[in-house]
């Protein structure tokens, strides 16, 4: 945990947003769990502040923990050679999260993929529709409680 608390970017973020209740992400990884409503502001700050300039969104992904869905952002500063992980915790039933396409255009396809496979709706996304599956697909197959409607072929019987 010491490396985490000492991370200069994390410390700077905490100082810049004193009212936001950040929580640390997993030990050893520089990053923060960000409250949903602060995400876009934090991202814009990280991208535009001189000295930080996280200009590259490496990946957006999501994890189903059954009681919640986490959306994880891996961002990178190509100028300062620095990585940072942001995480938001999304209510599983509502499944609504703010879109960061306004900050990084690269989020467009990745958020569509999460919407397609995990069923998280990103508010503010310019074109939120399925990207990998066909439009008529029923449900979001990477959710852990999703089941095939009918097994087209069985290997056991």
């Amino acid at each position: 945990m010491s490396t985490l608390t000492n991370d200069p970017v994390v410390e700077q973020l905490r100082a810049a947003f004193p009212q936001v209740p950040f929580r640390p992400v997993d030990p050893g990884i520089p990053g923060l769990v960000v409250p949903l409503e602060s995400l876009v502001d934090v991202c814009r700050y990280l991208k535009t502040t001189p000295g930080l300039e996280f200009d590259y969104l490496a990946s957006v992904t999501a994890i189903d923990y059954l009681d919640r869905i986490d959306v994880v952002y891996q961002i990178r500063s190509l100028k300062h050679h620095r990585d940072l992980t942001l995480r938001i915790e999304v209510d599983r039933d509502e499944s609504v999260a703010p879109s960061v396409t306004g900050v990084w255009r690269a989020a467009d396809f990745q958020e569509r993929e999460i919407y397609d496979l995990m069923g998280v709706t990103f508010t503010g996304h310019p074109n939120l529709k399925r990207i990998l599956l066909y439009d008529e697909f029923d449900g979001h197959p990477l959710r852990k409680d999703w089941r095939l409607p009918a097994e087209p072929r069985s290997v056991t019987s």
Partner: protein
């Protein structure tokens, strides 16, 4: 003058003519060969299969290798990969068929002129392969288009695809010209 030898024995007297000695001479000159219509058509069809340039996954890499000098699909007359379905008569389904790709494959198949043939290359195209009961993978391309030859493997080696091509050629040889080649598929 080029002579097409179709391998059928010429029977004397089987050709109608005026019986002049010239006819007899022509028959035995080696310039004329007689065959059945079936044999001639099938020979032409099997010897110039034009595959569609069309790959879906890693099997396509092996399909490309088949066109190279080392394996040389042109030995069997099938080297003219066509970018347009209108000019192709062989569809090699090389790779995983996803549900999203399925309508496109069906449309391309429908665009190909008759007689047309399909080789399902690899486990995925044959029956889904490793993607058993996967939510977005068609469990075999034969669920959307008729398949003539299945080539197993993951991916099949180029030799295996050539073997599949030879199997298809054998199949074409057995056709009757009078019947539609795709009659059984309808």
């Amino acid at each position: 003058m080029d002579v097409i030898r179709l391998g059928h024995k010429v029977k004397e007297g089987s050709i109608p003519g005026d019986g002049a000695p010239d006819d007899e001479a022509i028959l035995h000159s080696g310039l004329v060969n007689l065959s059945t219509l079936d044999h001639a058509l099938n020979w032409a069809r099997k010897s110039a299969l034009w595959p569609l340039s069309f790959g879906l996954a890693c099997c396509a890499i092996e399909m490309m290798a088949v066109g190279t000098a080392r394996y040389d699909i042109s030995r069997f007359g099938a080297e003219v990969f066509r970018p347009s379905a209108r000019q192709a008569d062989l569809m090699i389904v090389a790779g995983t068929v996803t549900r999203k790709m399925a309508p496109a494959i069906r449309r391309i198949y429908d665009q190909m002129p008759d007689p047309k043939y399909v080789i399902a290359m690899g486990g995925c195209a044959s029956e889904g392969g490793p993607y058993v009961n996967a939510y977005n993978v068609v469990q075999g391309v034969d669920q959307i288009i008729p398949v003539d030859v299945y080539v197993p493997g993951c991916p099949p080696r180029p030799d295996a695809l050539l073997n599949g091509l030879l199997a298809l050629q054998k199949k074409i040889e057995a056709r009757k010209a009078a019947t539609s080649l795709n009659e059984h598929k309808k």
